[in-house]
Structure formats: structure tokens, C-alpha cells
Symmetry: C2
Subunit: 226 residues, 2 copies
Amino acid sequence: MHRTKVRIVEDALDANNTIARANREDFDRHGVTVVNLMSAPGAGKTTLLERTVSDLDGLRVGVLEGDVQGSFDADRLASLHIPVTQLNTDPGFGGECHLDANMVRSALSSLPLPQLDLLVIENVGNLVCPAEFKVGEDARVMISSVTEGEDKPLKYPLMFRACELVVINKIDLLAHLDYDLDKFLYHLDQVNPGVERMLVSARTGEGIDAWREWIAAAGERERALA
Amino acid sequence: MHRTKVRIVEDALDANNTIARANREDFDRHGVTVVNLMSAPGAGKTTLLERTVSDLDGLRVGVLEGDVQGSFDADRLASLHIPVTQLNTDPGFGGECHLDANMVRSALSSLPLPQLDLLVIENVGNLVCPAEFKVGEDARVMISSVTEGEDKPLKYPLMFRACELVVINKIDLLAHLDYDLDKFLYHLDQVNPGVERMLVSARTGEGIDAWREWIAAAGERERALA
């Protein structure tokens, strides 16, 4: 019975990857670079975007906002006068805890792709399933808040492996926590040796320039690799 | 297609509830009160348990530790000299992001039920799916860290509804955050009006006595309701 379960999961992931490739082709045809932003609930994905998406070297940025329900983050970002599309996993998708390629595909017609250079997909806050489902993105970024503890790479290794960048957020709180940054980085290198990482505080703005440069250059990096 | 997906989810939850009832009967037969502890990753479930489980009015306490993989939390708790059983969702269960009744059932034979008065099931860190799957527990507790922001009850309403107690943790950090506790409580009452709540810092011990009393009395409350 357990083996059957694993088999079903593998088949579902195969089907997902096929749809993800179709999404990717649509994004490429419009010249849109896509970044899939993942983290645990409350790690600061939306605050990081608020800090940066309206000021990215003249890039035209849009956001696809994934949530189980509601449009709280989309409403926050819409006030920045960028195109934001809400994608809820609750109605029709069974309240899924992640975005998958089919959900993103269902939202494509609502996205102004011809008017965008960069699309950020803010995934559902969750350290498990979002890592399993590609959605057609060029790059995956995960945000880990220092308030979550140093053990998270070891407990959620797939998430920390399935990304090209780890943003370590809320460093303004380091002085008030029993958090050993070296230990976190050691654990991170155990599961994803040498993965690019940066320290930021989305709240105070510390380290934000490095993030701004990284995401603004995502398209160029992608074209250099292609 | 979306409707079919929802139907499959409903059937799976029906099957889960049947197994949960069987688990509950086994727990009841041994006179063990079971508390299902849920939260986002890094909200402080294990630290809260470390603070309290070895000192609960003479109650014999065990922990069933749910994780995708590894035994980091189980190792921390085992040093308190209480029986701890590790349940990983990765091998055999497809890396699930939550515990379900069948997984808990598979662990029953590893639990020293005749030697326990209270079993705490520490769920996988996740604010979505654990709320959908009863496992045979008497009570469900969710921990919300103030570092996660005030919007979480609105974004993950099922989780904040599917519990009898909300523990608001890490209040030692309140002075260093832009966190409006009244706003959080307002949102909490919107999705689960009047649900019992307590403010604690598992790190400093502030408010911990209320939690200790609540969990020590969980069995009595359950018997009074029965």
C-alpha cells in the first residue's frame, strides 16, 4: 500500500512536469523571466517583494500570488501599482498547500505576459510540497527566517535543495534570538553545498540591495545559461 | 476536473476519519489522553514541549514526533527521559506534509500506551494540511509565533478553526517586531470566535505555567465532556 502511494506521487509529478514545460514555453515566448518564491508561513516573502518590485532597473514586474484563500498579500502588492494576479488553491483545487503547474497554467490568461519582463510567483507558505512541484519557473528562491531556527535545512532538505538562492531574512532580530548563523549555514551546506545565499532584513532594508541585484539579473543569468 | 479533485479529497478524508476513530478507541482503552500539536515550521513546538513534558503533575507523558525525515526533535526530547517515537512521512508515505490517521496507526505498536497518561503528537510543521487530518486525538493545539505576522488566521483559517487552543509564542520578541497583537486577536476571533488562547515565551518561560496547567488538565477536561 505504501509502495502504491509512492507510485501515485511519482505519476502526479511526471504529469506536473509536462505542464510546467508548457508554461515555461509560454513564458519564454513572451520573454518573461519567472522566479518561484517559496518559504514557510510568515518568513517575509511579501515584505521582501514590497521592498523591491517597484524599483528594479526599469524592469516591468508582475506578481502571481498563491494562497489557500483570500487576497491579503495581493492587496498589499497591488498598492505598489504593479500587475498582481491572485491564485487561490481553495476553490476548485481542494485547498492545496502548494502551487502546481496546472494551477499556474489556469492563471496564464489572467497574466499580462506581453507587458512583463519579470514574473514573481509567490508560492503558498509551506516548507514541504512547493519544493516538489515545478511550475515553469526559471529560478527558485527560498526564504528562511532566522526566527525559524538553525535546523530547518536538515528537517526540510528537499526545499533547501530545490532552489538556486537562499535568502536568510529577519537578520535585524539576530541579537534577540538564540540562533547560531554558522550552524544554519553548516546545515545548509550539508543539504545543498555552496548554494548561493544572502543575509537580509526586509524590515530594515539591510542587505536588500544584493537581493534587488540578484532578482533584477535573473533574466540575464537565464539567457547566459540557455 | 477540479470537481473530481475535490471529490477525491473528500473521499480520502472520510477514510482518514474512520481510521482516526479506531486510533481514538485504542487510546481510550489505555486511558491515554492525546493532544495533536500543530504549527508552521519553527514556531516553537519542540521548545514548548522541552519546557514542560518532564514536569506535568506526575503525569506519564510520551511524544510521537512527526517529521518528513530525520529525528532532530525526537533526539532533543529523548534527552528528557520520556518515551519518544519518531514517525517519518518520507519513507513509505511519499514525503507527506502532515500526519494522517493511517500513519499514526502504523506507529501504535511502537508506542508504550499502557505506560502513558498523555501522548503529545507533534505534527509536521505546516499551516495547511495537518488541519484536515484528524489522527484520533482528544484535543488539537496550534502554536502561532508572533514573528509570523498578524494575518495568519485569515490566510490559514482552517488551521486556526481546527483547534481548541491557540498558543501565541515568542512574546519575548514583541518589543522588536512590528506586530500588532490586538490585530492578530481580532483576526483570530474572525475565524474562531472566542477560542481559548494564551501568550507564552517558550524561550524565557513567560506564560508557561498556563500552558503546563492546560495540558496537564487535558485528560480531565476530556472526561468531563465525555
